[in-house]
Symmetry: C2
Subunit: 237 residues, 2 copies
DNA sequence: AGAATAATTAAGTTTAGACATAATTCAATA
DNA sequence: TATTGAATTATGTCTAAACTTAATTATTCT
């Protein structure tokens, strides 16, 4: 993740983090073992304690170190495997792949949210949301099918937006900053609608992305995105 | 992500990050707009510039701010949606759900890696790796089926380990810290083997997790994990 | 006008020092 | 012996000040 070329001039904190990482990988410092405290390391590396602190914080965030006040810093027994994924905006993703972006709204209307959706975002069932279904295309081939519910009370001016000419995702990203977001991946067999929208056989395994966002006033939007077969979400950019 | 209760005594950097986040969400600072510089904010908030810097860094990491030297700090036009997933150790995940963990090794032998796998980890095809297939159970029900290739040269003493009595994942986590990791999610229809191992019908949509790790000396292991139907990977802990 | 150059500015990083806080250790007490 | 409480200690956080670096702006020269 934080790979730095050895030749490049890195900030000292990065260099120190790299050196500590190396000592762990090379087993100089064993799993579970206590490592020298910040003051010691500051002396041995010839930097200020704050710099050592920054480096160790970094490794703790990565899950490689366990740190506790007074108790000291230890090499993590069970290095947590964390993965950071950046969820791109569809259009950018498609265009970056050199394809022509297309967008078709299948339906836009107000209707009461289904119970399952209501439960997902913590809203009493039966509330009226804006229901939007759209397909995103790359070079005329279906890329994603999104089934979205938008809280009409979450953003002022929402009612006047015509999402047939305005990508809902992008409009929301620009106009409805959120405080909390939930993202989940799963796999589902394509149902009849998924199959029709994406142009794939029924039963085809699809990567499903559920994303919901909240404001301080409540939920903004929740969406189920069905990705075309072969879609891969990866840490590698 | 970094939600703090308003009542709790947060560090100042957290409080400032929260306040800046609020101003963005409340549209006091619009998308793309330049916000006051660190020195100004330090004065208005009555803290040192380093503290403001820490807070703004935090928000920049979240993708809410764009910062460039000399150019100043602006509210991000396209807030990047980042998601941090912690990939748990299977056994812990199962036990945390209150189920009994079980583990069965289906096969363990040395054999040449297939071309596709070789390409994935950047190794000349035909090299001999340790090939391991295992099923993880929760309360006797299949939870994950893993198909793993381990580089015998990556960790000393690897050849002597009998993974029938020793969970490969955990052994590797403890004994083979890695420098780089790649994780990818996708969806696949269960093939005959997946179906048999997981006890599901052929064609069932499965969430597939590909994970590979590298050392400075080369690849350590690569694994394809097929998760039971209904498996969800989520940002919410 | 256009290109090259210098000055300026805002973020990036580091430092030394201080105080806060959580855990541990150890002694005193019931 | 168990409990309480104080001293200790390593990390957590903050501050003020300085320096570094990238990008912009202004200036000078052609």
């Amino acid at each position: 993740m934080n790979d730095r070329q050895p030749g490049s001039t890195s900030p000292k904190a990065q260099l120190i983090a790299g050196e500590v990482r190396r000592r762990i990988v090379e087993r100089e410092w064993q799993q579970g073992e206590r490592i020298p405290d910040e003051a010691d390391l500051a002396v041995t590396f010839g930097v200020a304690r704050a710099t050592v602190n920054k480096a160790l914080q970094l490794l703790a965030d990565e899950g490689l170190l366990d740190r506790r006040r007074r108790a000291g810093t230890r090499v993590a027994l069970n290095p947590v495997r964390k993965a950071i994924f950046t969820i791109p905006i569809v259009r950018e993703q498609i265009e970056r792949a050199g394809m022509k972006y297309g967008h078709r709204v299948v339906a836009q209307r107000r209707s009461p949210i289904p119970d399952e959706t209501a439960a997902r975002i913590g809203v009493p069932p039966g509330r009226e949301f804006i229901h939007l279904r759209a397909v995103h295309y790359g070079d005329e081939r279906a890329f994603q099918f999104e089934d979205r519910w938008i809280n009409p009370d979450s953003v002022p001016g929402l009612d006047k937006v015509d999402f047939r000419h305005q990508n809902a995702n992008e409009w929301l990203v620009r106009n409805a900053p959120y405080l909390r977001a939930d993202i989940a991946f799963s796999a589902e067999n394509a149902d009849a609608r998924d199959a029709r929208m994406l142009g794939v056989p029924k039963g085809q395994a699809l990567l499903i992305l559920h994303r919901s966002t909240w404001n301080d006033t409540g939920p903004i939007t929740t969406v189920r995105i069905a990705c075309h077969p072969g879609y891969v979400i990866s840490t590698a950019d």
